[in-house]
């Protein structure tokens, strides 16, 4: 026992004398995913898990826990009730702004501790490759001329996909019927099966059906084209997809992918994770993943991140209000 105590004392002294090693997790770290299995957040969590494990970035293992019930609200409530627990990290996306507004979930992201924004996700307007309209103008004209409104599929209700649909209607005057599905994967299959006319999936969700020649990207909802120029299909790269603005449809939306710790954790604990995700963002696994899923690289922490979140929150709030999705 005395030996152990001595070792512990020495160990404590060493730890205290080197601030860089001030804190590290003593239990397995749980990555909380606010979506179902196989979705974009889950894939990202698995990538982080693999990158950390393969590159030995942390002594403790990472476990992925799926808390996708109630459209992800389960994960938010779970994080909120884990104040002071530094072994849980949430992979957040736009739901942290939208869900409290549309479903009155008692949650505010300011109650959590922001760690880092690690990527921005794109949205692309897709139609079925078998349809005759090959660009945005033809598509919108066909939608306007159709006797029954075109069906737009998307993930969830009163969320980013439906917001984009509402803004497409506002800018073009065309009418769409929005069908909410449980996941982007479902919206992709339904597009191939011709049960919907279009969707606004993230690149990763429609990648495979695009490569198989079943879906056609019409435009990307961003100010600039996607930067990746390597060929994805036989003839096209992500960079070849025009922006919606170029095509005369002035709608833009990007979605954050960010990491949060629960509230009331110490600055040392936050610092550990900032450092960890910085290292993750430098691994080949991360770079490979970003390119494959056509994500926009970004790395924000500290004040930059808070400023970004406040602006992004305000933007989402105004979009949701304008679309009429804020619950009274």
């Amino acid at each position: 026992m005395r030996h152990l105590a001595k070792i512990a004392a020495v160990g404590a002294a060493v730890l205290l004398s080197s601030p860089a090693l001030a804190w590290e997790p003593t239990k397995p770290v749980e990555i909380v995913v606010a979506a179902g299995a196989g979705g974009a957040s889950d894939q990202m969590a698995r990538m982080i898990q693999a990158a950390v494990q393969k590159n030995n970035l942390m002594k403790q293992p990472i476990v992925v826990s799926l808390k996708g019930a109630a459209s992800g609200a389960e994960a938010l409530i779970y994080m909120k009730s884990s104040d002071g627990d530094p072994n849980k990290v949430l992979i957040a996306y736009s739901l942290i702004y939208m869900l409290p507004l549309s479903a009155k979930i008692p949650f505010n992201w300011r109650d959590l501790s922001p760690v880092a924004v690690i990527a921005m996700d794109q949205f692309v307007l897709w139609d079925n490759a078998g349809k005759p309209y090959k660009n945005v103008k033809e598509f919108i004209d066909a939608a306007k001329a159709a006797s029954t409104p075109f069906k737009m599929g998307g993930t969830g209700s009163k969320r980013e996909d439906q917001v984009l649909t509402v803004f497409m209607e506002k800018k073009t005057g065309a009418k769409f019927v929005y069908l909410p599905y449980k996941s982007g994967g479902e919206a992709a299959t339904q597009l191939v099966g011709n049960h919907i006319d279009s969707n606004v999936n993230n690149p990763s969700e429609n990648l495979e059906i695009w490569r198989a020649g079943q879906a056609r990207p019409l435009c990307v909802f961003d100010k600039e084209r996607i930067s990746y120029t390597a060929k994805v299909t036989e003839t096209q790269s992500w960079h070849d997809i025009p922006t919606c603005k170029e095509e005369g449809l002035d709608v833009q939306y990007l979605m954050l992918r960010a990491m949060f710790l629960p509230g009331k954790v110490t600055p040392e604990q936050t610092a550990f994770y900032v450092d960890l995700f910085k290292k993750v963002s430098e691994t080949p696994e991360y770079k490979d993943y970003m390119e494959k899923q056509a994500l926009k690289p970004i790395f924000l922490t500290g004040k930059d991140m808070t400023k970004f979140l406040e602006e992004d929150d305000a933007l989402n709030k105004s979009l949701m209000t304008e679309a009429g999705f804020v619950a009274k």
Binding site: Q53, V64, K67, A73, E74, V177, G193, L207, Q214
Partner: protein
């Protein structure tokens, strides 16, 4: 015959000492995971997924899919011995499996379950091997109206073909449907019936309800009746296994019917659970002695198990070919594929032939090895029944509680499970069937979503359920099954009226 050559190639990829060893390890882990109620396939695969990150994709998927097969086999064990279904699709196995165990025929029931699982999976694998490209295009024809029609068919077959009083079946189903409404509504994005509680936000988890309804209520009943779990006569030997196998050909119609239902519903995403119930109900309907079902008839084990495993296996096909997982476990396997850099989709069969055919070959091998493994361990599992009730009951309750907790790491679920235990006890006392209740809990919210999506798409026109041949025939079949008792009676009356007229 290209498929055959590729399959042989797949076998050569597999037949190495290392892969076979991984297969055994996976199967044993899977059986353990399957035996613990609530832990089940999806959780087991999720927990063990990180182990495989450092392996090459083929070894990794072989090991994971063997955990999956193991869990499928294992799930039958608790259903039969303790009336606690480990997975949603094991529920129908309890109907006759548990009575058999109570009559001291546990070994027979277990052998029947394992054997029919094997037959079901084998049919589905054959289907995957030879018809993969055609079937994936069939699955694409399923839009919201088609999905709803399939769910409707399941519900209707329950009411129309069930042995219980119709009104009690409907009461039970309606209560189940009411409970599925709790939580977030996908279509409107609003919360329903949560009354401000954050615990109810998640909705009622199906497995929590099932563990309570079946497991806990069974313990309560047994306590009341001072019954021991009767397993004294469960003498196991090779003879029992052989005698079950000898009887097998007698049930070939049931086996083929269930395999067909399983394969068909398995490639329809989300249909795996419906398959086992439907397999059971149809076997009962077409049986010469439908009244003996539910009282320990071996056919009542064959039918749901064959269908469940055929569909569980066939569910991997839409996952590989389309990237839509057919079951919870398939969804986690899907996540695994992405980590290894394989993107499931139409091109997987073209770009990663080695992997796909390795996986298909592992389905054959895994099932054969799994069958041998579980059959050789039947005596061990059946001997659990010889432990005195007083000793085993607390262990069952504890493992139920752990299972209920593990699903979502929530203490609230344990209280919910106990509550459902009492509900199940009361239901059994006033003889309201539990099966329609659980079926409604599983499929209710999906059926609701599919119905409302169809209504949004058609602008509120019910004609959408007869808008093409596929959906029209499923919907019509559903209605026929719903009113089957009336139709049946009418037909025989018409028959009676015609006969004297002829004479």
């Amino acid at each position: 015959m290209e498929a055959f050559g590729l399959l042989l190639h797949g076998f050569t990829v597999l037949l190495t000492g290392k892969t076979l060893l991984l297969m055994m390890v996976g199967l044993v882990l899977g059986i353990f995971v399957g035996v613990l109620p609530g832990l089940g396939g999806p959780n087991g695969v999720a927990i063990l997924l990180p182990l495989t990150f450092t392996m090459d994709p083929t070894s990794a998927i072989v090991m994971l899919s063997c955990i999956y097969w193991g869990a499928l086999f294992g799930g039958a064990i608790t259903s039969i011995l303790f009336n606690i279904p480990g997975e949603a699709w094991s529920v129908a196995t309890t109907f006759d499996g548990y009575p058999m165990a109570q009559q001291g025929r546990a070994a027979e029931a277990l052998t029947a379950a394992f054997t029919s699982s094997f037959i079901g999976s084998l049919c589905a694998v054959l289907l995957i091997t030879f018809l993969a490209p055609m079937i994936s295009s069939f699955a694409l024809r399923f839009g919201p109206p088609e999905f709803f029609a399939v769910y409707l068919l399941t519900f209707c077959s329950f009411v129309g073909l069930g042995r219980e009083d119709k009104h009690k079946t409907i009461i039970s189903m309606a209560l189940g449907l009411l409970l599925t409404g709790i939580g977030m509504d996908t279509i409107s994005g609003q919360l329903r019936m949560t009354f401000g509680s954050t615990d109810l936000l998640r909705g009622i988890n199906f497995l929590v309800a099932v563990i309570g309804l079946f497991g806990i209520s069974e313990i309560l009943l047994t306590m009341e009746e001072r019954l021991a779990l009767r397993g004294h006569a469960a003498a196991i030997s090779l003879r029992v296994i052989l005698s079950v196998w000898k009887d097998l050909p007698k049930y070939w119609v049931t086996l083929i019917r269930s395999s067909f239902i399983g394969c068909w519903l398995g490639i329809t995403p989300g249909g795996a659970i419906a398959a086992s119930f439907m397999g059971y109900n149809l076997a009962k309907r077409f049986s010469k002695e439908p009244d003996s079902f539910g009282k320990g008839r071996i056919e009542g084990v064959f039918a749901p198990e064959t269908a469940a495993h055929a569909s569980g296996t066939a569910a991997l096909l839409p996952m590989l070919a389309l990237g839509i997982p057919g079951s919870g476990t398939a969804a986690i396997l899907l996540g695994g594929l992405m980590v290894w850099g394989l993107n499931p989709g139409p091109l997987l069969f073209v770009e990663h032939k080695d992997f796909v055919w390795g996986l298909i070959a592992s389905m054959y091998l895994g099932n054969v090895v799994g069958l041998v493994l579980v059959l050789s361990t039947v005596p061990i599992f059946a001997s659990i029944l010889r432990v005195p009730f007083a000793a085993i009951a607390p262990m069952i309750v504890v493992s139920c509680a752990i299972g209920a907790y593990a699903i979502q790491n929530a203490m609230f679920d344990i209280w919910l499970m106990l509550l459902f235990g009492v509900v199940g006890y009361v239901f059994k006392k006033i003889s309201i069937p539990l099966a329609p209740f659980t079926l409604a809990l599983v499929l209710g919210s999906r059926a609701e979503d599919a119905f409302r999506q169809s209504m949004i798409g058609s602008g509120g026109d019910l004609g959408v359920f007869w808008s093409n041949g596929l959906v029209g025939s499923i919907t019509t079949l559903a209605l026929v099954l719903l009113f089957w008792p009336v139709i049946d009676k009418a037909c025989s009356r018409v028959g009676q009226m015609l006969r004297p007229a002829k004479a």
